[in-house]
Symmetry: C2
Subunit: 544 residues, 2 copies
Amino acid sequence: MSTNPVETWQTKAELPRRMRDESLAQVQPPLTGIPEPLPLNCQGLPKLVLTPRELELTESYSVEQLLAQLHSRKLSSEELTRAFLRRAALAHVVTNCLTELLWDDAIARARYLDSLPEPIGPLHGLPISIKEHQGTLGKNKTSNASYVSYIGKHQGSTLLCDILWNAGCVHFARTTQPQAIMHLETESNIYGRTVNPYNRDLTPGGSSGGESALLGIRGSLFGVGGDIGGSIRVPAAHVGVYGFKPSAQRLPIAGGTGHMFGRECILATNAPITADRDSLELFMKTVVDAQPWRLEPSVRYQPWVPYKFTKPLKVAVQWWDGVVRPHPPVLRALREVADACKKVGMKVVDWDCGSLDHARGWEVLSGLFYPDGAKEVLGLIRDAGEPLLPLTKFITEEQAHVKERTVQEQWKLVTEREAYRTAYARHWSSTADEDGQEVDVILCPPAFGTAPPHGQSRYWGYAAIWNLLDYPGAVFPVTTVDPEKDVKDLSYEPRNAEDQFVHELYNAEQYAGLPVSLQVVGRRHMDEKVLAAVKEIELALGRI
Amino acid sequence: MSTNPVETWQTKAELPRRMRDESLAQVQPPLTGIPEPLPLNCQGLPKLVLTPRELELTESYSVEQLLAQLHSRKLSSEELTRAFLRRAALAHVVTNCLTELLWDDAIARARYLDSLPEPIGPLHGLPISIKEHQGTLGKNKTSNASYVSYIGKHQGSTLLCDILWNAGCVHFARTTQPQAIMHLETESNIYGRTVNPYNRDLTPGGSSGGESALLGIRGSLFGVGGDIGGSIRVPAAHVGVYGFKPSAQRLPIAGGTGHMFGRECILATNAPITADRDSLELFMKTVVDAQPWRLEPSVRYQPWVPYKFTKPLKVAVQWWDGVVRPHPPVLRALREVADACKKVGMKVVDWDCGSLDHARGWEVLSGLFYPDGAKEVLGLIRDAGEPLLPLTKFITEEQAHVKERTVQEQWKLVTEREAYRTAYARHWSSTADEDGQEVDVILCPPAFGTAPPHGQSRYWGYAAIWNLLDYPGAVFPVTTVDPEKDVKDLSYEPRNAEDQFVHELYNAEQYAGLPVSLQVVGRRHMDEKVLAAVKEIELALGRI
């Protein structure tokens, strides 16, 4: 580096890319058998590249089953970790999802765990992946959060990583995030664009899209991302895995690399993304059981108490948010799940967003994302000379309600947020008026459709409204796009410009075979109840 | 009013004062036998003015005992309410603690409750008092929060009042608060100065000082105030009653009249002040059991679960805060309680504030009180033309860290708050390192001394540090000042200007007989544990 007298953002970005490439070059044995050019859908590639045992270990077991084998020593952490290291490397080749593969460190950690007489915690021996800016204990002990400005500057691990580490995990892969960590896709000037393993022309979502691309091809089963406007739920949905945004301040966030520290008007949360449902609860329970509030007092004191339903659920279906009509596969998924819920005896009612004005909700939320008018974030980007990417521009400069506010103007917007939350809470409480049973959860889309083409994730409402409200939301896979069933409604007349944009984006053939996911949302702080409801709903769908 | 063509702040202030006076003129039979001039200590006056039955009802029973009589119909709510109405009127004559006596409304409410076949809730028939700006259902359906600007403008009740109402209480008195609701005393241009019933030359504390003056002479047994820097704990301490500041966002605050709505960097809480210990828990349980989060989503979802200790407490004694040395009676109270705790087998250790830098804590907190440099509050006062009172000036204009900040500068200060909270939490957690038992609670002063002379409440540290940390704190009476025991330490050399000021304020004779109270503080959100600890400590003191 020092041979180049002029440091540009491009030369600065070479360091983390080189570290990434060097980390991937360690893979042993090297990956062979990858076709060129890559197919659009890469789900068939692992069979061409990995050994049968690697395929077995990465495809045939749930996390719970793997942990049982690890804890009983039927399986060594080293063997499992090597399988996932190689599969993650393959995932990277096809999706560009990694910022670092922790080859040496992961194997050393796995061997250490294998050497112990007893499991050290509930995650003993399990390889887990972590979004780059949330830190981890790899060789590259820095995080850049995809800001060129930050390259080489931020060190150390996070409390969340430490807790997972103490629970026995193996940190084996770090994953990409977009510029400003605020796209519902994943593209940065440092690492480029991450793509969807089901269709490389489509996005894996974001901002935890490195995680979703990786989990979407089972290069990891258990990952850590974050969510402030949909960043765990949208990516999980776009690849058909599980994601959970708990209420804010349930999981620790100390130690992460980011921006706008001290902003309280809207809070980000760390969040799990997993290959199976039960792993969401395992993640939450493991972290909350570690009593993170004893070290990070912003975390609420609220022990994890699994929720048990004592009578059939009352599920409210939000068919649309009153702003943008969901694409046909999403509407079909809602119908199928609602029907299944009815069939097993649940009460299914409509959730009418009409009076709740989600459009106004977005105005308040987008303003609260950046009460400084995005000055800090845009400064970080411009100071480094790196280009402002279109989806960064979309969220910082193209939203009418993002503007620099005084403290007093911010108070006014926070007061509107509280009024909005209050109206929503009272509406929810009023659902008990008719039959004495309050709605347990809302069933709703996590996004307007399945994974869209790159650059088109320009409507956040379905995920982000729950960030404004601080309601927990879990995403689970329901079906896949079937062009015969999911026909475009050509007679539909869009209600507004956003609706028009989204309507025009749909084309059944383009999305054929893509995962279609839904979201279950509960009242504020009722994290356990949401996960219990997902289980009940999946049971209604005939799953275990 | 309309006959006066020029409206000044003085003429505006006539309306609420006239309403107060008219409300007090309703007392039947009128109060007679009040000596003139009033003595400094007014505790002997009820015996001169009230009937034996009124004395019995207002002095001889705990709240629990009264409720038992009310629920079993041995006592009518009307008789009880009339007794407290007359005693409250007397309290007002001697302390200037009321803004309105709800004579007609309270009696009508009591009669209604008496007419019902069954108690409607846990507080059925109990008269309770409420700080003026927190609203109530009286005839004067406005609150002014002691701002001349607000006179006649703010209507309606609060969610907290509604919950207490639905639990069966009788709202019977509204009480004073200071200008800007931000003195640790109680003086406003509208209502004048509220004084201490133990010594009219001394303050009853504030900002809930109307409540404490009233409860301090048993003109009420159960009141509602608030706390953002000591406003329930300091007044409770200064008259020897019980006060509890729960963690923020445990009790609802919607509907109150105030200022700086939307400020989140430091949060006020509503708070109970009661004549006995068990009433604190009754208040908390009653309100939390009403599930306030269903209507006000800023309230945390956290059911009230009474705490049970399973082994002897580990109590850390904070002898001083490293800034200002407490007065001798407070130090004696700490010694006496610590000794009693040891005697019953509790672990008693020191809480050393040295490394925790409470002085820096105050800088951060005072800055966060007014991130707009107190513009809004000072504007409200100046726009009305009313004088800025000395203690308002003290907290808004004389604090070096109160300044107008940009949103980004506020973030920086919030980040410092979090760093401070984190250091404190980790220090607390580290107390488990020695013997495996973490400190359960801190025993500490609620103020540097007992009630000081008017205008001298210029050091907030002992109460306010727990607002910065958002730790729950309960105040309970311990002893009274004994000039023979509580001798001034003439050899003490103050460490700084504040310490000097406080040291010079002490004079044993001036405070003779005044209540001396202490504070029990727990970790964030551990409200139930703090109340359980107060009980254990009182048991150690030989109380029931």
